[in-house]
């Protein structure tokens, strides 16, 4: 059962990811990205990380992508016309991509030679309480550093936007 679900949602994620690249219209691409995030959150659920799954939907699919869509709509971006690509890109694009994928796969196989398979329902430490405990004990420093980083980003955005207005 979990294998079927995994394959179904992994397939949806891959198809949506391809669609992000292949669609000509920015809105269609952005919505395909929402599809990728939705499928990923189901995969998180299958792994037993309920909290992460929901946060994925709330933050990425629900907030970040809504802003993306908002900006695309505001700019009133139209469908891109296919540009003429160079002959070299046409000839070498796919082989190089496949070679890169092969290298990645090889690296994963080398680094983790005999990892046991994950089974559905085996891992139960993905609830909100567990994530909270991990964040505020073991990963406290990275957590705080990231929050400072985000604060800097916000202040930076405000400063940049101010210049535009004045």
């Amino acid at each position: 059962m979990d294998l079927i679900l995994f394959l179904a949602f992994a397939a949806i994620a891959v198809i949506c990811a391809l669609s992000v690249v292949l669609q000509t219209h920015p809105i269609a691409s952005a919505l395909s990205l929402v599809g990728v995030m939705g499928a990923l959150s189901v995969l998180y659920l299958l792994l037993g990380a309920e909290f992460i799954a929901m946060v994925q939907v709330i933050v990425y699919a629900g907030a970040v992508m809504v802003l993306f869509v908002f900006v695309i709509m505001l700019l009133n971006a139209d469908a891109e016309s296919p540009r003429s690509t160079s002959a070299m890109a046409k000839a070498l694009g796919l082989p190089i991509f496949l070679a890169f994928a092969a290298v990645l796969a090889l690296a994963v196989l080398r680094l983790f030679p005999d990892t046991p398979l994950v089974r559905f329902g085996e891992f139960t430490g993905g609830g909100p309480a567990d994530v909270g405990m991990a964040l505020f004990t073991r990963y406290l420093l990275p957590f705080e550093v990231i929050s400072v980083l985000i604060l800097i980003a916000i202040v930076g955005a405000v400063v940049l936007a101010r210049k535009e207005i004045d």
């Binding site: 946060v55 629900g62 869509v69 908002f70 709509m73």
Partner: protein, 395 residues
Amino acid sequence: MEFFIVSTIKALLVFFVLMTTLAYLQWVERKVIAHIQLRQGPYRVGPHGLLQPLADVIKLITKEGIVPPHVNKFFYFLAPIIAVSMSLIAISVIPFGGEIEVFGITTHMQLTDLNIGLLLVLALASMGTYGIALAGWASNNKYSLLGGLRSSAQMVSYELPLSLAIASPLLLLNTLSLREMVTQQEGFMLGFLPNWTIFQGPAPQLVGMVLFLIAAFAETNRIPFDLPEAETELVAGFHAEYSSMKFAAFFMAEYSNMLTAAAVTTTVFLGGWLPALPGMAGDLIAPAVFATGGAVCLYHGLNPARKRDKYTLPVFALVFFGLAALFLAPPLKDIAMPLFWFGAKTGALLFVFIWIRGTLPRFRYDQLMGFCWKFLFPVAVLHLLATALLVALAG
């Protein structure tokens, strides 16, 4: 197998009750607003317009579905589907009552209890934004586009105070499962004050509930925050190009969102299906309310103001007395009592939604954003910090 059958039956039951409630919610809204504005509201179809929702449904189904030639077809059809499905799914985690036994099968009066139930509701609410934003964009109409843009900006902004306001009662309840939340609020303080989060020590959440309700108004696009469909400036906003069932889908989504917001407020802040009064008094309120209704009907039936009242009102009185008897018969009582309390609290909140629509004018767009970022958000943060401090001090 038994789990599958029970779940299917429960899902169908909830679906039909939900659909009927949504249809009649619209009737109630029209009636209440009519009376606020000294009108009579729907009156022609059925007694007091009671069959109006049915007529509306038939009208919407049989209307011609016009698809304007300039729309982006795929997204134009996708938008209402997203809007309505996201808002209807949310009802699946709402608990309507505790554990009951029907025909030897023990089950909960709730479709499913997730340990991340509240997060699921928030996630679905944020996904519902796409329905409105896409509808505005795919219609390829500047009024619709403005409506869609307004809605996405508004919903992203108001999600922050919404999440912050609902985070503070979670500090008291220590769980994200909606069923456990209700069981955490059981019991009474000083013998009469229910242990709901709005009264519960060390940090009563009355302010939190008001903040949550204000943000919920914006999330559900209700007056005074219904800028996405402000008819005076935007024709009909994001759904200007939608007709027949596609329009009905948006309509249903709006009412269903309203229902979810009221039900979540009831569950998190007002103790869900738990009674408001302890012991016998709490048990007797429901039959007393219905028996009073029956007595009033019977009195007016015996002193008829119009000819027909002699025959119709005693029938209504019988129905009311029957409902009152339902709350006294032991096996049915366990099912009817939680439903009564849950319905009463949710209904009261829905009435507030409608009442405010009949009272307040619409905000201007810059006022809407200023209110969110300069008032609601800071207050929600302070409230969360104060609650956290009080909970920490109380240990």
